[in-house]
């Protein structure tokens, strides 16, 4: 960093001075008296003179604090002593940062304050990433965790000057946490999730910030977490570290399901895009969310008339731009023209005739690695896009989805082609994409429930029916919760004689399977 001669020593001295002043009984409320004196010292020593010097000052301070923490970790015998020693300096440093931010620029000019905050957060993130790089397995999160969470708490105190810049403060922290996402800083992952799920953090982003303006940022952080976990969750056996992180993630999702179900409803699509297909319980948990003002009829009610429910024609909010994920643009164009004109048939035959390869040219095929044969986001986007177009066209005709109204349409053509022509893995993922829309009573649930039943009823091979059943059943045998739409679809499938469900070989392929079906049937017939 080729710091100017003497600056490190001067910075260390100043930091120690501040720590001492901070801990004096007469430091004043929120250390305001101590700060007054200290700012004078800082000016005297010229560390506030230029932007570059300020940057160097914070970087050096951060490094000193980190060093002190590592030394405490190495020398103190108990966790309590480590923390009291490390926090002695860390908390004082955080207070200094908070005071400098609150007093930077003139009182009602938030820009300079937020700029300074971004600078400091950037420095802390930079030091952390470098530290992780250098120390490798010896890296410890303590100092960074403490600095970030305490600074967050300090800057979310109910003070006039902070209220006016709160959204920018939240944005700055979310941006920093995105930079420090587990994929980038795996050694910080547990502390990261602790911060992201801290009650004040959740409260600010998901509850207090008006117009749900914090939701998108929070969703992005969860997606960061799912993306990191995904490769490790594909293994049948979870290692202890992954299992701990997974369990923690479930806890956070449970809190969100209980307190902010609408948030999970709005962002379910983006979450399902990055959750591996074999994470059935976690995905069910997200799909089970339903708006708090909605009363769900018992799915086991005999003769439940789903299509009579008032909400069944309402489209749910989907805040992910899934249509934009259909790439390349030519694919989208061809798709739109086929949906509109039900032609050219070659579009379907392309699908049908060269399903794997062709599909690859349509980017549905990504790489030959097992389990990675398909571009899942594209497949999911395709399914939801075609579905939403279909719902729109049905509703413009004043109709509502049913087995009769959804059939013989360009939309069903697409679904039929994919069901028939994809290989078993592709078909499994395709059916999962549909099943991901079986949620609380809404037009998507209704339509895709009909699509699945229609695919079952019109299947030209038992393999399709078997795989539809497989996807539904594996989502049912997992521990609770279960999405409402999943239950009503499966109940309809096994109850309605039109599907001749019980005649199929795969229903009786093994005593365990038979027993499962019977127990589900018993509970709903």
């Amino acid at each position: 960093y080729d710091d100017p001669h003497g600056l490190p020593e001067k910075t260390e001295y100043l930091l120690q001075e501040w720590v001492a002043m901070y801990h004096l009984p007469n430091a004043g409320r929120d250390s305001s008296k101590a700060f007054g004196h200290f700012v004078t010292q800082m000016s005297l020593h010229g560390v506030l003179k230029t932007d570059d010097l300020i940057t160097r000052f914070f970087r050096l301070c951060t490094q000193f604090c980190v060093d002190i923490s590592y030394r405490a970790l190495a020398s103190e015998p108990t966790a309590d002593l480590i923390r009291s020693k490390a926090f002695h300096t860390l908390d004082a440093y955080v207070r200094l940062i908070a005071l400098l931010i609150k007093h930077s620029g003139d009182a009602n000019n938030g820009v300079t304050k937020v700029n300074l905050l971004n600078k400091v957060l950037g420095i802390v993130a930079g030091v952390l990433l470098q530290d992780q790089e250098v120390r490798g397995a010896e890296f410890q999160q303590l100092a960074y965790h403490r600095i970030l969470i305490m600074l967050f708490l300090e800057l979310n105190a109910p003070e006039q000057v902070l209220d006016s810049i709160n959204f920018q403060v939240l944005t700055a922290f979310c941006h920093t946490l995105h930079i420090l996402r587990p994929a980038k800083a795996p050694g910080f992952a547990y502390a990261w999730l602790e911060i992201v799920s801290h009650r004040v953090f959740i409260g600010r982003l998901l509850s207090i910030t008006p117009q749900q303006k914090g939701w998108g940022m929070y969703a992005q952080l969860l997606i960061d977490l799912f993306k990191f976990l995904a490769p490790f969750l594909r293994n049948a056996e979870l290692s202890k570290p992954v299992s701990m992180l997974y369990k923690g993630t479930l806890r956070v999702l449970l809190v969100l399901l209980h307190d902010f179900p609408e948030f999970l409803c709005d962002y379910h699509y983006g979450f399902c895009d990055v959750i591996p297909p074999n994470c059935i319980q976690m995905r069910n948990l997200i799909l089970s969310a339903f708006p708090r003002n909605m009363r769900l009829p018992d799915p086991f009610t005999p003769n439940l008339k789903v299509d009579m429910l008032p909400e069944i024609s309402h489209a749910p909010r989907v805040l992910t731009h899934f249509a934009a994920m259909i790439q390349p643009p030519t694919l989208k164009k061809d798709l739109d023209s086929y949906l509109k004109t039900r032609g050219p048939v070659t579009f379907l035959s392309e699908l049908r005739s060269v399903v794997q390869v062709h599909v690859s040219s349509m980017n549905l095929h990504v790489s030959p690695e097992p389990g990675m044969h398909y571009n899942l986001p594209l497949l999911n986007a395709l399914v939801l896009y075609v579905g939403t177009q279909a719902i729109q066209s049905i509703q413009t005709k004043g109709l509502s989805p049913s087995m009769a109204t959804i059939g013989h349409s360009s939309y069903m053509d697409i679904f039929q082609s994919l069901a028939v022509n994809l290989d078993t893995e592709g078909r499994y993922l395709f059916i999962n994409a549909i099943a991901n829309q079986l949620r609380y009573p809404n037009s998507h649930t209704h339509y895709f429930s009909c699509v699945l039943l229609c695919l079952f009823a019109e299947a030209n091979s038992e393999a399709i029916q078997e795989q539809i059943t497989r996807v539904l059943l594996e989502r049912l045998i997992v521990n609770r919760p279960h999405p409402w739409g999943l239950l009503i679809t499966f109940i309809e499938l096994i109850k309605n004689p039109v599907f001749k469900f019980w005649n199929h070989e795969f229903v009786h392929c093994a005593p365990e399977i038979e027993k499962l079906f019977e127990s589900v049937a018993r509970s709903c017939m």
């Binding site: 105190a157 547990y190 602790e194 409260g203 299992s243 069910n284 078993t424 078997e466 795989q467 365990e512």
Partner: protein, 176 residues
Amino acid sequence: MVADQFGMAGLLTFIRVAESDSNLVSLALGSDLTTLGLNLNSPEPLYNNFGGPWAENPCRPQDIDFHVPPEYLTNAVIRDKLAPVKLNRYQEDLLFYLFYTNVGDTMQLAASLELYNRDWRYHKEERLWITRVPGMPLMEKTGTYERGTYYCFDPNNWRKVAKEMFVEYERLEDRP
């Protein structure tokens, strides 16, 4: 039938593996989420006292920061003057308070030990603290049980209630 892992045979393999090693399929069959230490039936939001992703219990009331007028924050001034926590100095009332408000914390255990030292016993099934009423002779006593009149501590009404009980020793918690 579909021969690979994407059909019913694949699911069957799942189920059979689950019977032998549930850890292997913990993602697919999942676990009982009510055991994660969250009160999912709470009418109140959970996030207010969420103990964090690694905690088995929510925060205690005293863990939650509320912003109060700074003048209230007396700990900075008096903390050096307060005597260290010594449970054997406290009245039973405070011990019960510590026991019931420090769930899942070492303090709960410490309070329990102190109550035990004061001849209270925790009935594991009744989930109550009981102690013999002083001066009241037992009606019956053997090597495995006794019968008599006891004080039970009722946390809901926060008072001691006299009750005739048949107490089997094995149902009482040993020394914590």
